[in-house]
Every structure is written in structure tokens, then in C-alpha cells.
Symmetry: none
Subunit: 249 residues, 2 copies
Amino acid sequence: MLTPERHQFILELLNKHHTIKLKELVESTGASESTIRRDLDQLEQHGELRRVHGGASLRRPSIEEPSIGEKRSQHHAEKVLIAEEASRLVEDGQSIFLDAGTTTYEMVPYLAGKKITVVTNGLPHLDALATHSIPTYVLGGFVKGRTQAVVGASALQNLSQYRFDHCFMGANGVSLEDGYTTPDPEEAAIKRTTLTLSQARHMLIDASKFNEVTFSHITPISEANIITNYKGALLEQILEKTNIKVVTS
Amino acid sequence: MLTPERHQFILELLNKHHTIKLKELVESTGASESTIRRDLDQLEQHGELRRVHGGASLRRPSIEEPSIGEKRSQHHAEKVLIAEEASRLVEDGQSIFLDAGTTTYEMVPYLAGKKITVVTNGLPHLDALATHSIPTYVLGGFVKGRTQAVVGASALQNLSQYRFDHCFMGANGVSLEDGYTTPDPEEAAIKRTTLTLSQARHMLIDASKFNEVTFSHITPISEANIITNYKGALLEQILEKTNIKVVTS
DNA sequence: CAAAAATCAATCATAAACATTCAAATTCAT
DNA sequence: ATGAATTTGAATGTTTATGATTGATTTTTG
């Protein structure tokens, strides 16, 4: 049985049963335990399933499908993995900032149940946060229609009254020379100010953003940790400049 | 039975019965008491349920508050008429405040096309305003989950940087003696501050609110105009104290 | 209100599942 | 065919989930 064949087989079985034991797979494929483990690891990295003790399960064990009108962004699976990893850093009693953007949006379900306070400038986040009963403050200011983000001088001023244990932000590009960049100067300003108000600073960047540069500079690469699924050539060079957490689990 | 399988099972059973005994779960899953306890702990941690002595229950104890979507249906027709009339007061170049609430929400479509700037503390309003391409500022502050309104000290402070040609607000009760009242003191505070920042002040009150009194005082009846469909007995007495504009269908 | 019963949180031993390493087998490119 | 690269499976110590036990807490009962 060839590798892709096994992968396909595993996924099909999983979609039928929603959860699968490793032993069952060993029996039904004839492959060894180690091989199946490796298969599951790989499939998890691609966001196709979730490894659990004893086997694997669908990524969303709970019934909920992405709600109506909730358009799946590009690289959705990777973003969810990154978001999940980022959420692990948050502990009870902390206050965090969630930047507007699709990746930070995916963090919300993983923050449920934690005793935290969230500040955000992303309007779509507010609904999700309310759904999960997470105490939330929204930044005041101009509402940028297209991205549903709050920006502007008022937002910057409003922001300065908060302090954060963590901030989680997105960016459209990251490179060694130009650091983090994003297309909109207004949003860049918000991100820049937020960074100065946070004890721990985390950039959530999927692999497609690496070595990209866009219009507005946010901050040098050394100024924040990276949480990413990127495993390319720059990894070593980036590691000299900052912490980088590569999600594999 | 794998962990996520059990979790799924528990949640499904819970959604059916709204409450569940630990013993029942022990029997039906075949797992030990300790394991089920751990499961419940974990699910509670993720906000999926609420632990109670002897088992678990749905997190939202029993009855759902009428969501803003459902509330919109009460007296909907009257509110639309009032909203339309209120919108006529707004002219190009003006800045207005839209209070959180269903009646002011109905104003949004009638504001489309006007060259105005809107400030609001109602989160549902933001979507509608963006849809109609109306430049909008959102008040910063604590998000009151139930009503989707922004309130709190931060909101009050944020508010003070604006000045309005008009403010449009709702209230849950109005009476000659107690003026305007609303159940939530936090929202009342926002309304009160907004009134002091506005050249023209308008209360949008459907007939069902007349001679009602609720917990928090906003302002005396003389401090604002009323736009309403009320045509009852108090009309004459109210007219002695303030302007009242009665919309007729 | 006190005693009894039930449920709970905390701890611990154990067996299963795990990641890791390394050598053998297989596949691939030349 | 031959050497390099990849995949595989077995062996290893380590980690994790589980269920039993304990004493503490809560609820029920008399």
C-alpha cells in the first residue's frame, strides 16, 4: 500500500467514523504502527485531522460547522493550526489584544473557557467573542468598511489606555530586511502602537507570507515572536533574529 | 472509546436532555467515574457545558434572552415609521449619534445617500452602516454581550471627544414624573453624556413605552424632543414640557 | 440542625500509547 | 546496476490516559 493510498484510506475512514483508533488502522492497512503514526503526523500538519491519544479525530469534534456567511479564508487549515497554537500561550487572568484579521479570528474558539479579557479592533471578532462569553472591549474609532477593522487617530488614543499580557497580530508580509509589512498604513499604526503596550508580542503568519513585502512597515522582525507553519529556507536566518514557533502538532 | 468520541457523545446527549447525570455517563460510556469527571472538566474549560453537582448542564442555564434579531419584530412597523421620520431631520454635512437599540437601527437605510458622519455604540448598526457606505465611528469600550451595545467608563471618555448635530436615542420607559428611563445604568450613562454633546436631541419612543418606568433615569422629559406614534391621553401634558412629533401611518 | 449519603478533588500506580532512534528495506536517479 | 535518498519497522525510554483509592466537600435526609 503506497503512502498516498494510505492517507486517502485514513481520511475516508475518518469521515465515516469521526474518530479512529490507531490499532484499527494498523490492522486494516497491514502497515506497522510507526508508519501509521507518521501518516497521522503528516495529515495533521496539513490540517486534515487532529491527533489524539490512541488515534485521530476530525478537527472539529464538536458539531458546529463554520457559521453562515462565514467565508473560509485562504489557507484556512494552516491558519487554524496557527491560531490554536497561539491560544495555548494564553493563561487565566491575562489580558490580550486580538488584531483584526482572519487568523486571529480563528483563535476565538480556542480561547473559550479561559478567564481572560480581550481587546480587539476587529468587528467580526466581537460576535464570536460574545458567543463564547468572553469579556471584550472594542477599540473606538473609524470603521474601515472593507476589512471591518477599527482604525484612526481616535483608535490610537483609545488604545493607549490599555496594557496587554499578549498581543496577537497578523501581517501580509514578512522578510528579513523589511520586517513585518501590511498594505494599510492606518492598520500598521494600530499594530505598531499595540506592540509597545504588550508584554509578549506574537505575529501569526502563515507560510505564504514569507519573503513578501507590502506597503506599510510595522516593525522589524526582531520585535516579536513568530507563530507559523513555515519551514522553508529562511528559517535559520530568522531564528538568529527572533523566536519562531513552527506549528507541527 | 477515544477521548474526542466521548466528548462528542457527552455533548450530543447534553443537547438532547439539557442536563446529565455523571452516573448515566459512566454507564453509557463504560468509562470510569474519574474519566468522565475529567471529560466534564475539560469540556467546561472549553466553555461547552457547565459542571453541576452530580453531572453537567448546558452552559446557558435555561432560557435564551430574546436576541436582537428576535426583538426587532416587536412593534417593528411602528419603529420603522418613527425611524423614517427621525431620519428626515438629518441634513448633509451633519454629524449624528445613533444610540444602540432597535429603533435607531431602523434609521440606517433612511440615512443612506446623505453626506453625514455617524457615531454609534450599537454593534449591529455597524454592519448596516457599512452596507450603506456611511462613514462611521464606533465608540470604544466594554461590549455588553446581551444587547451588543458598547458601554462603560472607557466609552464615556471616548464619547467626550465628539460633538453632534443630532443624537437619536431609545429608552424603555417615559413618564411625566420620571422622564426617560432604561433598565441598564451603564447604557443610561452613555445616553446622558451623549445628550450633553448634541445640539438637537431626539428620543425615539414607540407608544408601548409611554407611562412606563424602568430602573435607570436618563434625563427629564423636557430635555429632548420625542418622535413617536403615541396619541394617547398624556399628549397634552407632555406638549407643555417638550416638543413632540407624532408620526401617523 | 446533625447525621448519613452522595459527590467531589487529589493522588497514585499501571498499562497503553507515545516520540525517538537506528538499521533494514525499498525506491529513485543516474 | 549502483549509490543516494526515502520509506519502513523494530527497539528504546518517555509521556499520557485511565481507574482505583483516599479523605474532603456538598447535598440530602431524618
